[in-house]
Structure formats: C-alpha cells, structure tokens
C-alpha cells in the first residue's frame, strides 16, 4: 500500500500539470490526429488508383499509423514525464524522498498509458468517422498487439532516460527522435520480407516488426499469428529487462559521480 501511495503521489503530480493546462491536453492528440488525417486521405487516394484490394491497403496503412502512434506516444509519455521533472528542477526532491527508483518507473508507466490513450483515442475515432476504418475489427487480439507496442515504447524510453542520466541534458533531444529512427526497421507499412536479407535480422530483433506482421495477417487473411505475438512478447521481455538493468546501472553511476545534483544543466 505504501509503495502504491508513493507511485500515486508522482502520478498525481503529473495529472495536476495536465488538469491545469488545455494546451498540454491538445498537444497529446495533435500529432496522432494530424497523422491520421494525412495518411487517411493518402491511402484513400492510392486505393482509388489500385482498384480491387484498395480497401485492404487503406486498412493496413491506417492500422499501421494508429498502432505505431501507440508505440510513439507510449515512448514519449514515459520519457517526457521524466524530463518534466528535470525541467521543473524537481528531481532532487524526488530522489531524496522514499520513492524507490522502480516506483518512479511505475509512475512513469502509468502516465505513459494515460497519455497514450488520450493521444491515440481521438485519432482512432477520427479514422472511424472519416474513413470508416475500425481498428477493433482486428478482434480482441488487438489488445495484445497494442500492449506489445506500448511495452516497446517503455523500454526505449528507459534507454533514453539512462542516456540522460549518463550524458546529462544534452541527450534530451535524442528522446524525440529515438523511436522514430527505428521506424524503418519496425516494418509498419511493409512486410519484413521486403527488406534486404542482411537487414531482416535487425527488424526481427524488434517486437514491432512481429506485431505488424501479425496485424497484417489478421487484417489481410483473418488469421491470428500467435508465433509473432509470442516473439514480440519474448523480445519485449528481454529488452525491458536489459533496459531496466541499464537504467539502474546509470542511476547508481549518477549517484557516484554526482550527476543527480545538476542533471539537465
């Protein structure tokens, strides 16, 4: 209970920030909605040129956009919440409180989930209203795909936070581009088989590539590829443990070299 209370304390601190600022709330949904509008019209345009199978193309593209936004929002929700503490120069107070590092990560995870839902839900509603695309048509297994993408966002964010602890505020800019840089290997809009053979192992080391293979199979052939889901979950487990170990190592290193005192400067 005590640990839950401490986690809630940090979550409450960040909820207060959003409660008092509508621009922040708008910002959460701004990019996902913009992406949906652009890709929606683009995919409809291509579908009208392709003819038969066009609807499938629209579905795969819009499904890809929505799900990849989940990973991006999850990643940003986690890492930006941490950076908010740096920007408000509040990390010192946090780290001298009884809040354990893993409890802090739990609070960041909760904020990431909330920010992702608030960010992606309007885009999903828009996809349904404007383009008649219903992501839920994938079926209940969609939840498993989505969770895997969110977990991927968390461990990449953990890697970014570790980098900030190690290199200071100069690494903050990487947070914004880290996951976007992995997009070519996530195979969001094309199958892994399209990539050159030597590049395929890189893609297959990422849970996202397995998720999107699975989503394409579900949307295109109506089958659930449990093998891809199992790979995605296993890889996420591996990367999450590795990122967690890296975070704890960098946190302890920051305590040794005094970096926690002036992080962000």
């Amino acid at each position: 209970m005590t640990a839950l209370r401490r986690i809630w304390g940090l979550v409450y601190r960040h909820l207060c920030v959003y409660r008092g600022s509508w621009p922040r709330l708008v910002d959460l949904a701004y990019w996902p909605v913009l992406q949906m509008i652009i890709w929606g019209f683009t995919s409809h345009f291509f579908a009208s040129r392709i003819g038969g199978g066009g609807a499938m193309t629209v579905g795969m593209l819009l499904g890809g956009v929505l799900l990849w936004e989940m990973a991006l929002r999850s990643h940003l929700g986690f890492s930006v919440t941490f950076m908010e503490e740096i920007w408000s120069r509040n990390l010192g107070h946090i780290f001298i409180s009884p809040l354990r590092p893993l409890e802090m990560l739990s609070a960041l995870t909760v904020m990431s989930v909330l920010r992702t839902i608030l960010g992606v839900l309007p885009a999903a509603v828009l996809a349904w209203a404007l383009y008649k695309f219903n992501l839920l048509s994938v079926g209940p297994v969609l939840v498993l795909f989505a969770v895997n993408l969110m977990v991927m966002g968390w461990w990449i964010a953990l890697g970014c936070i570790s980098l900030i602890l190690s290199q200071g505020g100069g690494a903050e800019s990487l947070v914004w581009s880290m996951l976007a840089g992995l997009t070519p290997f996530a195979c969001v809009y094309y199958p892994v088989a399209i990539m050159p053979h030597w590049l395929q192992p890189v893609a297959l080391a990422l849970p996202a590539a397995h998720v999107f293979e699975g989503v394409r199979a579900a949307l295109g052939q109506g089958i659930i590829r449990w093998d891809h889901l199992a790979w995605a979950a296993g890889l996420n487990m591996f990367w999450l443990l590795a990122a967690n170990a890296l975070f704890l190592q960098q946190f302890n290193a920051a305590r040794r070299n005094g970096a926690l005192m002036n992080i962000g400067e």
């Binding site: 940090l10 409450y12 509040n90 107070h93 001298i96 009884p98 354990r100 302890n252």
Partner: protein, 245 residues
Amino acid sequence: MYAIRAEDLTKRYKTATAVDGITFTVAPGETIGLLGGNGAGKTTTIAMLLGLIVPTRGSIHILGHNMATDRFAALAKMNFSSPYVALPHRLTVAQNLRVYCHLYDVRHTEARIAELAEELDLGPLLGRPAGQLSAGQKTRVALAKALVNRPALLLLDEPTASLDPDTGDLVRTWLERYRAESGCTILLASHNMAEVSRLCSTVLMMKRGSIVDRGTPAALLDRYNREDLEDVFLDIARDRQAEPA
C-alpha cells in the same frame, strides 16, 4: 544512537576532492551548523547525507540506518529544504504539499496540509501556483514541504537566503520554536553568521573539504578571540591563526 554519524566521509571526483575524510556526529535534538566558504564541501556533504551522492569512502548512519544499505528507511524520517531546489511551478501550493504527503506516506493528508498552512501562515497561498510566489513565500512553502513527514532530521541549505531581514527573522523564530516543540535534529548550512550563532548549538567549520574546527559558537569565539562568528569565519577562510585569548 546519534541522529547523524559520519565517519571518514570522502568524496573524490576525477580531478578534485570535494570532501576529504570528515568525521562528525550529531546528537538527537541538536542543531548543528555547517559553515564554510564556497567550495568548502558543504553541499557535497549534505548531498551525501541525503543519499544523492555516494561517498567514495567512509560511512553515514542516519537515525541508526546505514545510508549505504538502508537509505530509504532513513529518507522516510528526514527531509530537506533549500531555496535552490524548486518545487513544480505549475502546481498550486496545496497540490505540491499533497504530492509530498503521498511520497512520504503521510496519513490524513488534508489535515496535515491545514496544520502546516496554519503554522507557516500559508492559508491564503494554498490555491496559488508555486511559481507565482515571492521569495519569502517560496521559502515558507519549501519549509512546509520539508515538514510534511514530521522529520526527525531536517537538513536546511541556506534557509533564509534571499529573504528580507523581517522574513528571515520570522523563519528563524519559527525554526527555533519547531525544534523546541518537536525535538527534531537540524543540520543547517548557512553563510549567515548571525543565523548560525542564534540557532546552532555546535558549528562545524569546513574548508577545502575538511573540517578545520568545531565547537559551540561561544567556544569558537573564545578560541579565536573574536566577538562575532563572521570574524571567526574570515580567520579560517583566510588562514589566519587563532589569536590567544
């Protein structure tokens, strides 16, 4: 059991030694002053006591807890205030205090906030964002944050810096009363010699990472044959020897 027991405390960075093998103890209920010029090692010492920095060598026991192995148990019983560490500016004073009540697992949160608001005259400020307060108001809010968990050990880094004399005196008076009523141990780092003379029963004089002298304010004045602690500070800072009384 000491409130603080630091033994052979050392912090070395790649090119500098910030704290060089200091040893000191603080008895429960005592108010101890940490004095020294810029770069003397006060901030690093406080950061090690708070667990923000790991010592290169030596040990720290806070309220019986070894900070190397049991720091979270100690952190729950202590707190810290400094005008140089901000509270989230966008949150109101009440929201900030609520956050720290949760982090320190303080029960009856609203009652505790009301209590602190009354003690530190924060009532009219509770609904205002922390970033919109004056320096004096921020100091009182920072003190309230440091007291949410009724700490047995309170670390204060220049608690009255940037305050006008009237507000500074109010804060010092309040600290005296709080210590007397709660029996709390206070470690105070300050450049304000009058403040240290008034509040502290013992003073540790630091220079270049070492404790170069220690004693009660009266004993130090006597030893250096001076009438106020500021002259003692200057004697030490400028390497002047103690004059025979």
